[in-house]
């Protein structure tokens, strides 16, 4: 029985030690143990040529590095640079596998280079939506059912992908063999909203809009840090925040060292699972979450619920939580397109300052009394 237990334990709780960001005293942190600068890529410029290294591009990767050389059109490639790693900039035709990539191009005003996208039914941006409906931006399919022939025929200069696991790299390898340049975007693995936003710098370099990207990043960072500083100086109490919703009888809990965990602590809240540190969400029994949730002061992102009634219908026990009764329940569904797209998964990635303002408004409404929640809506 002990061996069975050990086996189960390893099945559930394995995680690599390397994927956590090490504390770096000089990186100007908001919270002690999460870096606010991007930890998954480095940029090194020399002579118009930028060397971009993407580090551990998918979940549970350790020691993986992908190197790209961004070389302006017409400029000679240095001899020591392998040609398959060269991406000519500015990129004129890009295929985006995630709506966040579309959001980056949209923020930079470079949507005209989008040659194709994945999950076009989940796009929120109105201009892009129009282009999709008119067939200007074709859908290239999902991970497993990728339309490789369509991708090749679209003649992209670059396909911006994201990897959920090493297997994703495997199916995209075929595309590389067919001559399509594939870049892995690991923005979603960054543990802090500002780090995630920093990925716009890569899009800036790729599209020839470096200055715009840099100034956007600087402005957003400035706003964000100013808000976080205001919270740190003023608030005393830290309301407890419950996150997410169960699937059947499992409740996947985001770790505290995550994008959303950082937002809660920067907004002056206390995440109910602030003791959980892991590289990805962990499966908890609903009973265990329920017990902790009885002390929650507010509840954010309860799945796809659009009303309090939705939550009670899905699991009547959740309606017995004090936080449910108090009605302090918020979901990220203020900017939704009927039939799919949610701007929270799109533009919010590059507007962490607005996102933080929303979080502050939800957690400490008195600090931003005039703020109008942008991505969030209170459930009734």
């Amino acid at each position: 029985m002990r061996y069975l237990f050990l086996l189960l334990l390893t099945l559930v709780s394995f995680y690599s030690c390397n994927s956590r960001n090490k504390t770096d005293a000089n990186s100007g942190q908001v919270e002690a143990d999460v870096k606010i600068t991007a930890g998954r890529f480095t940029l090194e410029g020399q002579d118009d040529i930028t060397k971009l290294v993407i580090i551990d591009p998918w979940q549970n990767a350790s020691g993986e590095q992908l190197t790209y050389y961004l070389v302006p059109h017409g400029k000679d490639v240095p001899e020591n640079v392998p040609s398959e790693n060269v991406i000519r900039i500015p990129v004129r035709r890009m295929i985006c596998m995630s709506t966040t990539h579309l959001a980056a191009l949209s923020a930079l005003g470079a949507t005209d280079i989008i040659a194709g996208a994945s999950g076009t039914d989940l796009v929120y941006d109105h201009t892009l939506h129009k282009a999709i409906e008119e067939g200007i931006i074709p859908d290239v399919g999902y991970e497993g059912s990728l339309n490789k022939e369509l991708i090749v025929s679209l003649r992209p200069d670059l396909l911006m992908a994201y990897g959920v696991g090493a297997t994703s790299a495997e199916y995209l390898r075929k595309l590389s063999e067919m001559g399509v340049k594939v870049m892995f975007n690991a923005d979603y693995l960054e543990e802090h909203p500002l780090a995630r936003c920093e990925w716009i710098k890569i899009f800036g370099l790729l599209t020839g809009k470096k200055e715009k990207a840099d100034s956007l990043y600087t402005a957003v960072t400035h706003n964000y840090l100013r808000l976080a500083e205001m919270v740190r100086k003023s608030s005393e109490s830290k309301p407890a925040v419950l996150l997410g919703a169960p699937w059947e009888d499992v409740w996947y809990i985001s770790p505290s060292n995550s994008y959303i965990g950082s937002l809660i602590s920067d907004a002056g809240g206390r995440y109910l699972f602030d003791d959980l540190e892991a590289p990805n969400s962990m499966p908890y029994a609903v009973e265990a979450v329920f017990k902790r949730a009885t002390t929650a002061d507010l509840w954010i992102n309860p799945g796809t619920a659009e009303s309090l009634e939705d939550i009670a219908e899905y699991d009547h026990r959740l309606a017995k939580l004090p936080v449910y009764k108090s009605g302090d329940v918020w979901n990220n569904r203020n900017r939704m397109k009927p039939g799919g797209g949610n701007d929270y998964w799109e533009s919010a990635v590059f507007r962490p300052d607005i996102l933080l303002a929303d979080f502050i408004y939800m957690i400490h409404p008195a600090l931003l009394p005039d703020h109008e929640p942008y991505y969030f809506i209170r459930l009734r």
């Binding site: 559930v12 009973e287 799945g303």
Partner: protein
């Protein structure tokens, strides 16, 4: 059959198993994924606990433990019926395609209909639509199998048709999965891992009805079942109406397995492994003993699996199906490697 000596020991075994059942049921109530004092649990059971303690015991642990007993008993009895009917040690509720039929119902709802009707986890229609879809899927497969069973003389053909149907359905489910998005895929995968803890009391009542009705049917059928062990020709010679027996057995097994699958997802392995464990425990082939024996053993194993599924501690949990398989597979291996060949029992 056996002499009165072994009857007596069978009675003793029943007594021990029932005591074990009570013990494990109590343990399942006491050991949850959160820490709760024994006193709190007992007070909560009698309505005198703290508000949250009472919710945890009455709304989380009690329904889960009751569901474990019902689902374990239902799958085990259903498996026993199938093994005897097909005289095949590897038969179980899943060989008939009942589980995959239920899976198809759920997959169709989740992966194709729900994006259209915007049913998503958290929406009003979600819970019941999954259950009804699973039921409809299992029922449809059952109708096909019974039609085949009514037409074909050879019971092995029915088994083969069942297996083929199950494979075909799995392919359709794969196809649906292939074209669905990540959220829906995840919901489906979590459904296939089985869950005991999400039933309301109303749903438990329906499951109780299905399992008790099925078990009662099975008990009525013990005589033809015992005769079946001697072969179909023998059964007919002692007056068993084979055609009717087949249909009744298939219907009983499908209703039980289909209902359990609809409410709890495909509970793996119990249907195949528990009848063997029961035969070993009682060293008997008499269905008068095996039927209640399998029900108790099935309930016991699912209770143990449920307790083990919260073992990682800190509130983490593993899907109950992984636990039943990890318990079930060594047992079946042990049976196969054991001295007594299983073939001889059929």
């Amino acid at each position: 059959m056996r002499g009165s000596g072994s009857r007596l020991s069978a009675g003793l075994i029943f007594l021990l198993l029932l005591m074990l059942l009570v013990l494990l049921f109590t343990l399942d109530l006491l050991l949850g994924s959160t820490q709760l004092e024994v006193r709190d649990v007992l007070l909560s059971l009698f309505g005198n606990g703290t508000e949250h303690g009472e919710i945890i015991v009455m709304q989380f642990r009690l329904p889960k433990a009751v569901t474990a007993i019902l689902a374990g008993a239902g799958m085990a009895v259903s498996g026993l019926l199938m093994q005897t009917l097909f005289r095949n040690p590897l038969a179980g509720p899943d060989v008939l395609g009942v589980s995959s039929g239920a899976g198809l119902g759920v997959a169709l709802t989740l992966l194709t209909l729900s994006p259209l009707l915007s049913i998503s986890p958290g929406s009003v229609l979600y819970g019941w639509s999954m259950i009804l879809a699973a039921w409809a899927g299992a029922g449809a497969v059952m109708v096909v199998i019974m039609t085949v069973a009514a037409r074909m003389r050879d019971i092995m053909s029915v088994l083969i048709v069942g297996l083929l149907l199950a494979s075909a359905i799995s392919s359709i489910v794969s196809l649906l999965q292939y074209f669905s998005n990540e959220t829906m895929l995840k919901t489906y995968v979590i459904w296939t891992m089985g869950n005991l803890g999400n039933l309301s009391y109303m749903q438990i009542r329906i499951l109780t009805l299905a399992v008790t009705a099925g078990s009662a049917m099975a008990l009525i059928m013990v005589k033809p079942l015992n005769a079946l062990l001697m072969g179909e020709t023998f059964s007919m010679s002692v007056g068993v109406n084979m055609q009717r027996t087949r249909i009744l057995l298939l219907a009983t097994a499908s209703i039980m397995a289909g209902s359990v699958t609809a409410f709890c997802g495909p509970i793996a392995f119990l249907g195949v492994a528990v009848p063997h464990i029961t035969r070993l425990v009682f060293s008997s082939n008499d269905h008068r003993i095996l039927m209640p024996g399998a029900a108790i053993c099935g309930a016991l194993i699912l209770l143990v699996s449920d307790i083990l599924s919260t073992l990682p501690g800190n509130g983490l949990m593993v899907p109950v199906n992984t636990v039943t398989s990890l318990i079930g597979i060594p047992v079946v291996l042990w049976i196969i490697a054991g001295k007594k060949g299983i073939g001889r029992r059929f």
